[in-house]
Amino acid sequence: MSTLPTPSTPLHTLLHTPLYETHQRLGAKLTDFGGWEMPLHYGSQVDEHHAVRKHAGMFDVSHMCTVEVVGPQAKAFLLFALANNVAKLKTPGRALYSCMLNERGGVVDDLIVYYFDEVTFRLVVNAGTAQKDIDWLNAIVLREKFDVVLTPRTDVAMIAVQGPEAREAVWKVLLDSHAATAELKPFNSATVGDFFIARTGYTGEDGFEIILPASRAAAFWAELQSAGVVPCGLGARDTLRLEAGMNLYGQDMNDETTPLESNLAWTVDCSTDRKFIGRAALEATPPTRQLVGLVPLGAGILRGHQVVQTAHGDGEITSGSFSPTLNKSIAFARIPALVAIGDTVQAEVRGKWLDCRVTKFPFVRNGQALI
C-alpha cells in the first residue's frame, strides 16, 4: 500500500458541531472538512449511500452557516449581491438556490436563500467559506450603504434527512410538523415551533433540511435513528451529490470560475435589467469552457484533477468517484465549450488514457439511473 490517508490538520484545532459527541458514540470515522471535524462514515459509506437512495438517511450539516439578513433594504441588498433573483420569492418560506459572484463573475460561494417577508431573509452558506462570505457581504453593505444587518447564527444545528422515506420519518418523530409540512412543495419551508423545516437537499432524493436549536440536536438525532433513519457521513453525501449532478464549492467551482462554465447558467437571472455584482463580466465574456458529466467506457475510477483530452483542447476532472447506484465511476469535468454531449474524450487515469463519454447531468435522480 502506498499512502494511507493522514489528517491534514491537527484534529485538536478543528471545530465541532453540537452532534460531535453523538458521532463519537456511534463510532464515526472523523475527518477534517472545511475546518470542522465531521463524520466521513459510520462503517460503510456505500451502505449509507444506498440507505438514502432506497429508504432514509440523515446527515449532520451543522457546519454550514445560517445567516439572518434583516432590515428595510434586505431585499434590495440581496437583489444586488446574488446572481439569482430574490424577487422571484413571493410566499413565506420560499427558497432559491443562487451563487454570489465577484466583479469578475467568479463564484464567491453558492447558497440557499429563504424568504420570510420583504425585510427578512435567511442564507445558508458553505462551512469552509462562511467567514469569507460574511466579510464579503458586510463589505458590500458598507460600501453601498444598505440598511440591513447580517447575523450569523451560532445557536443552531442543521440536520438533513434525505431519501424516499425521509419525510415520513420526520413526521413520525415530530408529530406536530405534519400539518405544516405535508403540503410543502420542493424548495419551500415552514417553521414549526423552534424547528425550521425546508424541503431541500443535496442528494437528489426527497427529504427535509431542518434547522433546530443546538440544545435539541442530539435528542432529535436519536429519535430519528429510532425511527429507522440511518446516520450518514460526508462520504455518502459526496457520492450522492455527484450522482445528482450537484456542484461542490471549492472543487467544481471557485472564485476563478463563472456559473456559466459551472453548469449553473440556470441560476443566473439576466431576464430583467437588475444590476448585480458580476453581471457585467458575465455579459462581456461568453464562456469558453463548460462543466459536463463523464462516464468511463472501460474499467477505472475517475478522480479530481485528472487531465481530460478532447478534440477541442484539454480540460480537467473537477470531482470524480465511484457511483454506488450505477456501479461504475462518474465524474464532473470542465472542458472546452465546443465538445458536445455524447462525444468521446480521454481521461488520464494512473498513466493510461481511458475513453469516457460526455453526459448531461444528473446521473441519478429519485433513485433512478438517468444515463
Binding site: 500500500m1 502506498s2 499512502t3 494511507l4 490517508p5 470515522k29 466521513l40 462514515h41 460503510s44 459509506q45 456505500v46 462520504g235 457520492t239 474499467a299 477505472g300 475510477i301 478522480r303 468517484s321 465511484f322 454506488p324 465511476s329 494512473r350
Partner: protein, 127 residues
C-alpha cells in the same frame, strides 16, 4: 481485529503467506482495508509478470482514494484472485481470506525483511 500469527507482513500493509510448495500468497491487512474504506475497484497484475521487491503490483481504489499494493519480494505472478476483483467489497469483509495474487519468489528472494504479527502490530501502533 487480531493480526494472524501465521502470516508475514510488509510495513506497506501487505500480508504474505508462505505456502508448503514454496509459493507466496499476498493480500492486504485489515488495518489497510479499514483505512481505505469501501473498495470499489481492484486491478490485478498479469499472470507471468515479473515483479521486483516493493514494485507496484495491484491497484486498489476505494470510494475515496486510489492506492497500490506492492510485491513484498521479487518474483513471478503465477495466479491472481479474479473473484476479489469482481467483488471488491469481499476484501473489506474478509481481508485475510481475500488474497490478491500468488508469487513464485525469485531464487534470491528472502522473507527476512518482513515483519511477524507482533512487529506489524507495533508498526501500526496497535501493540
Amino acid at each position: 481485529m487480531t493480526i494472524p500469527t501465521n502470516l508475514k507482513y510488509a510495513v506497506s500493509h501487505e500480508w504474505v503467506k508462505a505456502e508448503a510448495d514454496g509459493t507466496l500468497t499476498i493480500g492486504i491487512t485489515h488495518h489497510a482495508q479499514d483505512a481505505l474504506g469501501d473498495l470499489v475497484y481492484i486491478e490485478l497484475p498479469a499472470i507471468g509478470k515479473h515483479l521486483k521487491a516493493a514494485q507496484e503490483a495491484v491497484v486498489l481504489e476505494s470510494v475515496k482514494a486510489a492506492s497500490d499494493a506492492y510485491s513484498p519480494v521479487a518474483g513471478e505472478v503465477i495466479a491472481v484472485n479474479q473473484a476479489v476483483a469482481d467483488a471488491p467489497e469481499s476484501l473489506n469483509a474478509a481481508p485475510y481470506d481475500a488474497w490478491l495474487f500468488k508469487l513464485k519468489p525469485a531464487a534470491d528472494a528472502s522473507l527476512d525483511g518482513l515483519l511477524d504479527a507482533a512487529g506489524y502490530a507495533a508498526s501500526i501502533g496497535a501493540a
